[in-house]
């Protein structure tokens, strides 16, 4: 069964943008605590550009939508999150190339995105980066039956909370060492919004 159409994929990006813009200040505040205070700005800027690009373009496949998003994120976000999200979406696009987006295909795509993030950023699980969220989402998708996509939300929320107690070992927050404890990782939070948008969009089709 196709779970994500081209229109839904576009809508996924639009919903992501809405959430990221809405939570721009929250993300920036998180990044001010343990980073350089631009994560909300970066994500809002990047996804707004994605929406601008996507809304005016016709796409044949979901892979094309995601590839377009990947290129835009890479070119417009910058910082650490730009290449990471750019790579994640690009690898997802490659994984979905020439396929219908079934549940299985999507899980494969998340795996590919996860791998892309790791290749680019060299993070391991538990180092307090957005990799942690992708890792847990992938793990969940491999462990659960595919009709409970909403479960992603709980998984994300749990791991986001877990990042609070982690000592950062990658990215800017790692400079703080022990002092990075007690704060949620901003990139994990933005990844949550993207997955939340994904879950919303699956519903959206039904509505």
């Amino acid at each position: 069964m196709v779970i994500l159409t081209v229109d839904q994929a576009k809508q996924w990006m639009i919903e992501s943008q809405k959430k990221l813009v809405e939570h721009k200040e929250q993300l920036t505040t998180l990044d001010q605590a343990i980073g350089d205070g631009d994560h909300g700005i970066n994500m809002a800027r990047g996804f707004s550009e994605v929406v601008d690009k996507i809304e005016g373009t016709e796409y044949d496949t979901v892979a094309d939508v995601l590839k377009s998003a990947a290129m835009t994120l890479t070119a417009k976000v910058g910082g650490a999150s730009g290449p990471l999200y750019g790579t994640a979406f690009l690898k997802m696009a490659v994984s979905l190339q020439g396929k219908e987006v079934t549940a299985e295909a999507f899980v494969d795509a998340v795996d590919a995105g996860l791998e892309g993030i790791q290749t680019r950023g060299k993070a391991e699980f538990g180092e307090k980066t957005l990799f942690d969220v992708w890792y847990q989402v992938a793990a969940f998708l491999h462990s659960e039956p595919y009709d409970t996509w909403e479960g992603i939300l709980e998984v994300c929320q749990a791991i986001i909370e877990d990042t609070r107690e982690m000592v950062a070992l990658r990215g800017r927050a790692s400079y703080l060492k022990e002092r990075s404890k007690g704060h949620i990782d901003p990139g994990s939070m933005s990844s949550f919004y993207i997955f939340q948008a994904f879950v919303d969009v699956l519903e959206w089709e039904k509505a």
Binding site: D36, G37, D38, G40, I41, T74, V77, A80, Y175
Partner: protein, 329 residues
């Protein structure tokens, strides 16, 4: 937020616009990019030097474009690494066939974006190599983590690599010279006040009236320790001792850079210079040359960093060649 801006989202574009207008005789902007290049780039037979990073560090990096230093500076959003496509444009614009060296400050974002650009450029048949500057001893150097950051010492890497490139040296030779500087340069900074990213609208951290933050980065990141306000002598000593604990400069000759973070009066920077030189003499370290001023800032942050570079004949030679940039002599 009290800033002289038109709109927080327009600061980089407006600044670049002003910059190329003010310096149009020596500098130009690649159309539709955030890349500033030397008017005469690409220079036949010369290795191209590209650096850059987030904006908000002015005069870094566009102020270092010119004879004896960089061929191009790639400008990102405030405190945000520029994207691969922009870096790629810079590489293409300065490559004369002799190859291009990327001088990257060691931040996850900068490294990833510049590396992606390098991959793209190689795919287009351009020879690209890189050096990663990590002079900030406030951060522990460990292979398990991100490692030390690149801060003001980067300017001296630009300078030496630029001087060597100007002689017509090969990409490998220029890279070697740059890496020698990286190995021999150490810095550390502190902040008296935080700074405000225009689009964020509020300061990155808050310090009490009698508090300073030791070991801050150049992006308004919090540092490693918060201590009560001290005298210039004590602050200087703190930074110098930490640098010397990381690298032993005893009996060497050094170049010094006292770098203001943005809001610290030059008066105070010279007071720091006085203290730093005295401390170094105590350690038997001789001073070859000094730069005191704003070289790698963090918007309107108050504070300063100290940079030491051990110089040998080759580095001294490079530092004494002609240099024609907006911000460095």
């Amino acid at each position: 937020m009290k800033k002289v801006v038109n709109h927080p989202d327009k600061v980089v574009q407006d600044m670049l616009d002003g910059f190329v207008k003010a310096h149009h005789t020596s500098m130009k902007r690649i159309p539709d990019t955030t890349v500033i290049i030397r008017q005469e780039a690409p220079i036949s037979g010369k290795v191209g030097l590209v650096s850059g990073g987030g904006s908000g560090h002015e005069p870094a990096h566009a102020g270092y474009v010119g004879k004896g230093m960089l061929d191009a500076a790639v400008v990102g959003e405030v405190f945000t690494s520029p994207t691969p496509d922009q870096v790629l444009e810079a590489i293409k614009a300065v490559d004369s066939g002799a190859g291009v060296l990327l001088i990257i400050k060691n931040y996850t974002g900068d490294v990833m974006n510049f590396e992606m650009a390098a991959e793209l450029a190689e795919a287009e048949g351009i020879t690209v190599d890189k050096v990663i500057v990590n002079d900030d001893v406030a951060v522990e150097d460990s292979t398990f983590t991100t490692g030390r950051r690149g801060i003001a010492g980067t300017v001296l890497v630009h300078r030496v690599a630029g001087a060597v490139a100007e002689t017509g040296a090969s990409l490998a030779e220029v890279k070697q010279a740059a890496e020698k500087v990286v190995r021999n340069v150490r810095s550390m900074g502190l902040a008296l006040t935080a700074c405000t990213v225009p689009a964020a609208g509020k300061p990155s951290f808050t310090l009490h009236d009698n508090e300073i933050e030791i070991g801050t980065g150049i992006h308004g990141e919090p540092g490693i320790e918060r201590v009560p306000l001290q005298t210039a002598e004590e602050m200087s000593e703190r930074l110098v001792e930490k640098i010397l604990a990381d690298k032993d400069y005893t009996n060497s000759e050094v170049a010094i850079m006292i770098n203001g973070m943005g809001a610290t009066p030059e008066m105070e920077l010279y007071i720091v210079y006085r203290e730093v030189e005295r401390l170094l003499h105590k350690h038997g370290i001789a001073v070859y040359r000094a730069w005191v001023g704003e070289y790698m800032t963090s918007l309107e942050m108050a504070g300063f960093s100290v940079t030491l570079l051990a110089v040998d004949h080759e580095i001294k030679q490079a530092l004494s060649t002609p240099v024609e940039t907006i911000a460095f002599r």
